[in-house]
């Protein structure tokens, strides 16, 4: 059980935070400055697009209405759900080895979902209407409605959980953590269903998407936990305790398992899209594996996202932090592209492709505009900013001695 401390006064807390911020190096402040600048540029660009109309700034169009901003949103909520689920193994379900990563992971799950919401606010054309009509005109058959509502509930639970963790109130933290996990799984599988339940889009359609989303969220959670924990210790120049080393070792192992699970999923997804050449899916799989999207698929999604990190994780034995940092960074990049592929490829086949008309004979192309990239960068900037500030304000998310 945790030791009972004398609760520090507000003054002491403020002094502590101030001291930690003062002692931080120039490198830290430079990173904070860059992250903040990216967020500001992103918010400015997003607001400009919102006011003047998206069509002047974004490269999405009638036949490909979802672009990199949707992919970025998916990426961040995938990360958040994954952080929540992997960290819950310890502090919710009681597996001791995972305990030390709880605080930072819960903090990051909040940071990443806020980043997701930040980006989606500039993707949805009229987000202010959502706040009103989602509440007073809900459509219960809509997966988007469920996803949005459940993610709202999820965020509330994660906030509460983090506050209880800070207060060392373990019982309510566990209850909130469990509730957050349930809401997170429900929300995230609904996000999968947003794609999976569209009858007119054979590449997405079916029960695969919700299942895949949950499994790949957990894979992403491992990558993000490893990346930010190792980075956090580097920033704080702290010595890692054996318990933390052990936690990262088991996270690496579970990461290896989940990469193989997603490789298995991806393999069967491709085979299912190739065998018998199913209409609507086969041309997409062709372009993904051999065609114009093949490099992006093989290099980013497969090599950087999964196979490379798998090899590095195995070589690291869960102890070589440098290899693990490189592997997890590679995974984060690869998984981001993986989300882009998922969103883009499902739309790349025109709905009238099989009609054989001149207008829709070819696959549809989409490349993000510079404005879309800036807003995307803002999502990453916000996560970076919150992470950096969190490290100092919450003192490296120190875990109580057990």
């Amino acid at each position: 059980m945790a030791h009972h401390h004398t609760t520090p006064s507000l003054n002491e807390l403020v002094t502590g935070v101030a001291n930690r911020l003062k002692t931080a190096g120039t490198g830290f402040y430079l990173m904070v400055f860059i992250a903040a600048a990216v967020v500001l540029a992103s918010a400015g660009t997003g607001l400009m697009a919102m006011i003047k109309g998206h069509e002047a700034y974004y490269n999405v169009y009638r036949e490909v209405p979802w672009g990199v901003l949707i992919a970025t949103y998916v990426f961040f909520v995938v990360s958040s759900t994954g952080l929540c689920l992997i960290s819950s193994i310890g502090h919710v379900f009681g597996v001791q080895d995972f305990m030390p990563i709880a605080k930072r992971s819960v903090f990051l799950s909040i940071a990443t979902i806020l980043s997701g919401f930040f980006v989606i606010a500039f993707e949805i054309k009229l987000p202010w209407r959502m706040a009103i009509w989602n509440v007073i005109s809900p459509n219960l058959t809509s997966n988007i409605w469920w996803m949005g509502t459940l993610y709202g509930i999820y965020l509330a639970f994660m906030f509460a959980e983090y506050i209880f963790l800070l207060m060392n109130k373990h019982r309510p933290a566990v209850i909130c953590g469990f509730s957050g996990s349930v809401a997170g799984i429900a929300a995230h599988s609904n996000l999968g269903a947003v794609f999976g339940l569209l009858m007119g889009r054979p590449y997405w359609q079916g029960p695969y998407m919700p299942i895949y989303f949950i499994a790949s969220a957990m894979m992403t959670g491992c990558a993000v936990i490893l990346f930010f924990h190792i980075l956090g210790y580097k920033i704080n120049k702290q010595e890692m305790s054996p318990e933390m080393q052990r936690a990262l070792e088991v996270t690496t192992k579970i990461g290896i398992l989940l990469i193989t699970v997603i490789l298995f999923f991806t393999t069967w997804k491709l085979i299912a899209g190739a065998a018998g050449q199913p209409a609507g899916a086969y041309p997409v799989v062709q372009s993904e594996v051999f065609g114009h999207h093949a490099f992006v698929f093989w290099f980013f999604e497969i090599l950087l996202g999964m196979v490379g990190p798998l090899i590095l994780f195995i070589l690291s034995k869960g102890r070589n932090l440098k290899l693990m940092l490189i592997a997890s960074l590679s995974m984060v990049i690869g998984i981001f592209v993986m989300r882009f592929n998922l969103v883009y490829l499902g739309q790349s086949l025109p709905v009238y492709y099989d009609l054989g008309v001149n207008e829709f004979k070819e696959m549809l192309h989409y490349a993000p505009s510079v404005y879309e990239w800036i807003i995307t960068a803002g999502g990453f900037g916000l996560t970076a900013l919150l992470f950096l500030i969190g490290e100092k304000v919450f003192d490296g998310h120190k875990v109580e001695d057990h």
């Binding site: 109309g53 998206h54 069509e55 169009y61 009638r62 036949e63 209405p65 979802w66 949805i124 054309k125 009229l126 987000p127 209407r129 959502m130 009509w133 989602n134 005109s137 809900p138 459509n139 058959t141 809509s142 997966n143 988007i144 409605w145 949005g148 947003v194 339940l197 569209l198 009858m199 007119g200 889009r201 209409a279 739309q347 025109p350 709905v351 009238y352 099989d354 009609l355 054989g356 008309v357 001149n358 207008e359 829709f360």
Partner: protein, 250 residues
Amino acid sequence: MNKNIDLNNLQNEGVENVPMQERRDFLKMGLAITGIFAGGSLFSAVSTFNSAHASDFAKKYPYKPHYSMVMQQHRCIDCERCMDACVATNHVPKVHGAYRTTILEKETPDAVGGKREFIPILCNQCNLPQCTRVCPTKATYKDKTTGIVLMDIKKCIGCLTCQEGCPYNARYFNEEKKAVDKCNFCWDTRLSKGEKDTACAHACPADVRIFGDLSNQEDRVFKIVHQIEKAVWVLRPEAGTRPNVFYTKG
């Protein structure tokens, strides 16, 4: 009474002894039986074919009138008057990608005879619309009295999930209205004001677009959809949306 016939000892009398009339009758009967079977299977094939095109696609006609459109595809010459009429009537912005209806062009270079055909498309006002299911705020909905898929533009958040859900590419985001826009069979601009047809059907000089009431057996649309001589089909039946726009040709 029960006199057993000795089958083994019966002698073959030979067909030459059967009177001509009996032989004719027998052959007739055989032909009739064969004919019933052949004709029956042909009939069942036709009726399956027909039902698969008509009643199965829309399933039932729950609205009165049940608005529907038939495209006589072979008559379309791509004059685009329907598109112009739609733009003028429904204030469709003149920007790329903004349209409620358009005409697709299909070429079949190795076809015998004509090699080019035009396929007009618009919202299919489906009986099982995907767009209304996925909309988070009921901004798009199937009107309970008319069966037309309408937009309540103040509720549209611009998530564009309806565009993803539509198997017919019938929707686009209208920057002027600040909402997704789509064909509504000219409900607000014509039908609700007492007009009997849509702007596009009205403007068509070649009688391609036939607008009518599928629940009325006297209506032209009903008659075309329910006959069996000419093929009638819908676009993307596999999407399961039970569209109310039908196609025919020849």
